[in-house]
């Protein structure tokens, strides 16, 4: 393992192996930015309490909040009008110069310059952190950025620990003001690293996003208004903004309570600086441990929904404890509550907040993020300042009393988090490319396929036999499938094709198909009369004689006669003795005769005909008609079809057609037959079986599939795809470029197909379509959607397979994933 892929860069390398170099530079940048920020912060609080006292904290919060509005506006304009590199480097250089000026001016001009420094420190923190995450968004795709968040946050925490620790050690020796020079050194290092990172243009994958980010801020729109507009027009962003506002307000209130206790319990500026330095060091170490050990684990185990809830819930519990804390323990309590607030903010909050931004479209994300992170953040400070001032003026609460106000803010925060959790899935879905319906689907959606087939049969029969033509028309009438469109088609045909036998009766110049066709009542009378005639004993007797004569006929004329006979049986009553004649017609050599016979058999639904229809599934000329005929039996013949599926003596084409027929039945019994066949594993038609189940699911959304069986099949499909990936890596370089790609795509599709059986169908289909597109952004969104949708046990197995990266990394993940399969999984596999 090279020095760049080992500790502490291992996580970064794993998160984006192809962009590990950029990841390392960004990690260094974040380290230096947070190191300097924590030095500035310790000095800021300490000097403020020394010179202005905690009672003036609301004023500082308020001034910061107001000024930050202008800063946000300026920042947005600069983002829009300048290129990223000069903007970031320029602003960092500005902070470095002004910091040097503070160092020179602070000792002699105490009091009000402290307020200015407080303001400067807050602006630096907000701008540098926001810029940093925007750079991350430029460099990485959303999915990579999502994976990169946790390792980068770790480096940020390490930077904070280093800065705080140095501040705590050096405060007594150098004095608080001189610590600013330490921060300046970190800042200069950050400028150098930022210059390195921004030297490279954004990657192709991220470029679109960056361009969108920039274009999002159109020249005609003011920065502040644009950010606000983005928030107001997007419910999800509004929820994020609301949560941020409540969180910051609560955090500022906690900060006020902490500073008040600090001022009360620790005297002397340098002592406070040293204490704060040590406090921040310990705080950040705890944060680092939380980030390393807990955050990802909670995210993976319980999902984003629980992770975003952790911070407000813990803080609420901590606040509740104040009721039983004595004054002697005020500092430990304040340290705990402030520590919990900040450590969770650095870990759960930071990670989850960045993840929550990921599904927002790039064109909206940049402006909304800037607005929320920089402006709302400070509005929260302002709200807190007003609350403190108001509550203090009215109630003059003790150090404990302010907890009620803080608790109320935490409650509001929790409510927003509930809203975010509900909206998150919808936002991911909205970013997935809309499903492209295929032609077949459109036709199926608008037209009954069987009716369409009958229309074409009708038109086709016109040239062969007027009797067949009339019977087909009659059939259409019976099915009530002759809508205006079909009438138009048939009439069009009637005017185009001339058949002689019925003269002007049917061929009425295209005006109408039947006499009185426009009159629905007459159509019904006609149908009733035909039924009555066919039910006459005398008719049956005549037809029996006719069929006997017909059986001996050969040649084309004989075929037409037999077609007519086969068709007419379908129009007869089920108890007609002539229905028995279908057995011989189903064995006929002519496909046309058999097709009509199968259609008639399907109407009468006699089981004795099924064995005669089944083999026809293997005849390409009759397969569709046979499938339609068998499907008409419904699940009464599911068992018979299941037997055929398992019977190797049937032609493969027959067995391949069976799942589709069972799918059309769409009943639990039919589904059970398919699952049995899939579990048996000895079938050579697994694709058709899964395809049948998917079709069943698509056409019968209410049908429930057996979860454990599907889960086992998902694992089997994932294991199979993993083996293909591992084989591909082992065989590299392969004999042919792209060898096995088709097989792998099929294996991936199998996984998605199986997922669609137990998860929202449309969502899985959309995820598959995006995944299959293959470009990084689409794949990322697909995986995001699955991550949000799948249960943990499925997520753990499926996502490692789908994550992008070099084949070697995929193969390694596959091996790890297979290692995670439980004994039960192995038994099932």
């Amino acid at each position: 393992m090279s020095r760049w892929t080992g500790f502490p860069f291992k996580d970064i390398h794993e998160a984006a192996p192809e962009r590990a170099a950029e990841g390392r530079s960004l990690a260094g940048l974040f380290f230096l930015l947070t190191a300097s920020a924590y030095v500035f912060k310790a000095v800021k609080i300490s000097l403020f309490l020394q010179w202005l006292k905690s009672s003036r904290l609301p004023l500082a919060y308020l001034i910061t909040a107001v000024v930050m509005g202008f800063v946000v506006s300026l920042n947005t304009r600069l983002l829009r009008t300048t290129k990223r590199r000069p903007y970031v480097l320029g602003s960092l250089a500005f902070f470095a110069v002004t910091l040097a000026l503070f160092r020179l001016a602070l000792p002699g001009h105490g009091r009000w310059l402290i307020i200015l420094y407080w303001l400067w420190s807050d602006i630096f923190l907000a701008m540098s952190v926001t810029q940093f995450w925007i750079i991350v968004g430029d460099v990485f795709t959303p999915r990579e950025a999502k994976r990169m968040v946790s390792p980068l946050v770790k480096f940020g925490l390490l930077g904070g620990i280093s800065g705080s620790f140095l501040a705590s050690r050096l405060a007594g020796r150098l004095g608080s003001e001189n610590l600013l020079l330490l921060g300046l050194a970190f800042l200069l290092g950050a400028i150098v690293l930022a210059g390195t990172v921004l030297r490279k243009p954004p990657t192709s994958a991220a470029a679109a996003g960056s361009a969108a980010d920039r274009s999002a801020s159109s020249p005609s729109s003011p920065g502040f208004g644009y950010g606000l507009k983005a928030l107001l027009s997007n419910r999800y962003l509004a929820l994020l903004g609301g949560a941020m506002l409540a969180a910051v307000t609560a955090s500022t209130l906690i900060d006020f309570q902490f500073n008040r206790v600090l001022e009360w319990k620790i005297a002397g500026a340098d002592e406070r600086t040293a204490f704060l330095g040590m406090f921040f060091t310990c705080l950040l170490i705890v944060s680092l441990v939380l980030q390393s050990v807990l955050t990802q684990r909670v995210l993976r185990t319980f999902g984003l929904g629980v992770a975003v809830m952790v911070t407000p819930a813990v803080l609420l519990l901590g606040l509740a404890a104040v009721a039983v804390i004595p004054a002697a323990l005020a500092l430990p309590w304040a340290v705990f509550i402030k520590g919990a607030d900040k450590s969770l903010a650095h870990t759960f909050n930071q990670s989850t907040r960045e993840i929550l931004y990921v599904p927002v479209p790039p064109e909206t994300r940049a402006r909304a993020k800037v607005f929320i992170d920089m402006f709302l953040n400070k509005v929260g400070d302002g709200v807190a300042a007003l609350l403190i001032a108001g509550v203090t003026a009215v109630f003059a609460p003790s150090w404990k009393g302010m907890s009620w106000v803080t608790g109320a803010c935490l409650g509001v925060w929790i409510l927003f988090v509930f809203g975010i959790n509900r909206a998150y899935g919808g936002v991911i879905k909205a970013n997935l490319r809309a499903r492209r319906p295929d032609a077949g689907e459109i036709i199926q959606g608008r037209m009954d396929v069987d009716a369409a087939k009958l229309v074409f049969d009708t038109i086709d029969s016109r040239g062969r036999s007027s009797v067949l033509y009339a019977m087909n028309l009659m059939d259409l009438l019976r099915r009530e499938k002759v809508g205006p469109e079909l009438r138009a088609i048939l009439n069009e045909e009637a005017s185009r094709v001339r058949a002689g036998s019925l003269g002007d009766l049917i061929e009425s110049g295209g005006a109408a198909l039947f006499p009185g066709w426009e009159d629905g009542l007459q159509e019904e009378q006609l149908d009733a009369q035909v039924r009555e005639v066919m039910a006459l004993d005398v008719y049956q007797e005549i037809m029996k004689q006719r069929f006997d004569e017909m059986a001996g006929q050969e040649g084309p004329a004989g075929v037409v006669e037999q077609m007519e006979a086969a068709k007419s049986i379908g129009l007869m009553a089920p108890d007609s003795p002539l229905v028995g004649r279908l057995r011989e017609l189903l064995r006929n050599e002519s496909p046309d005769v058999v097709r009509y016979a199968m259609e008639s058999a399907s109407r009468h639904g006699r089981r004795e005909h099924v064995p005669l229809i089944l083999p026809r599934l293997g005849d390409s000329a009759l397969a569709d008609a046979a499938a339609a005929a068998l499907a008409a039996y419904g699940d009464r013949i599911a068992g018979t079809l299941g037997d055929a599926l398992a019977d190797a003596s049937f032609a493969p084409a027959v067995r391949q057609a069976v799942p589709g027929i069972l799918a059309r039945a769409g009943t639990p019994r039919a589904a059970a037959v398919l699952f049995r066949a899939l579990r048996r594993g000895d079938s050579d038609v697994p694709d058709e079986i899964v395809g049948g189940l998917v079709r069943m699911r698509a056409e019968h959304p209410d049908l429930l599939f057996p979860g454990p069986l599907v889960a086992a099949e998902i694992r089997r499909a994932v294991a199979s795809a993993c083996r293909l990936i591992e084989d591909r890596v082992r065989c590299k370089p392969g004999p042919e470029p792209g060898a096995g790609t088709a097989g792998l795509e099929r294996a991936f599709q199998r996984v998605f197909d199986l997922l669609s059986l137990v998860y929202p169908f449309e969502d899985v289909v959309r995820a598959w379509q995006n995944f299959a597109r293959g470009d990084r952004r689409a794949v990322d969104y697909a995986i995001d959607l699955l991550e949000h949708m799948l249960r943990r046990e499925d997520k753990d197995v499926v996502l490692p397979l789908l994550e992008q990266g070099p084949d070697e990394a995929k193969a390694r993940r596959c091996r790890e994933m297979r290692g995670r399969l439980t004994d039960k999984d192995r038994f099932l596999l």
Partner: protein
Amino acid sequence: MVIDKREKEGIVIFDVEGEIKRSDVPDVTLHDRVKTELDEGRRFILLNFEKVGFIDSFGVGEILASYISTHNLGGKLKLARISKKLTLVFQVTMLTKVLDIFEDEDAALRSFLRD
């Protein structure tokens, strides 16, 4: 329903008038009339429906029963001038394949002579 009988070149022609329906069954039906002729040794019968306004399934049954009776005795029964609607019913029920149907009486008579 009114049934008039006439003969032409040894062929019995029944001119049917009115409606042939189940709700209006006469004392002597069309089939009865045909059977009488068959009993009297006639074997060539033409049913002329020019003046028939409506025939329901009962009427069709009468025609079919007449056909079978004639056919079983080696005779010929033919139809002329049936309505378009009835032609359609016969088409759908395949009876056009069994029955000899003509557009006018002369054509029907000529076909008897050919037979």
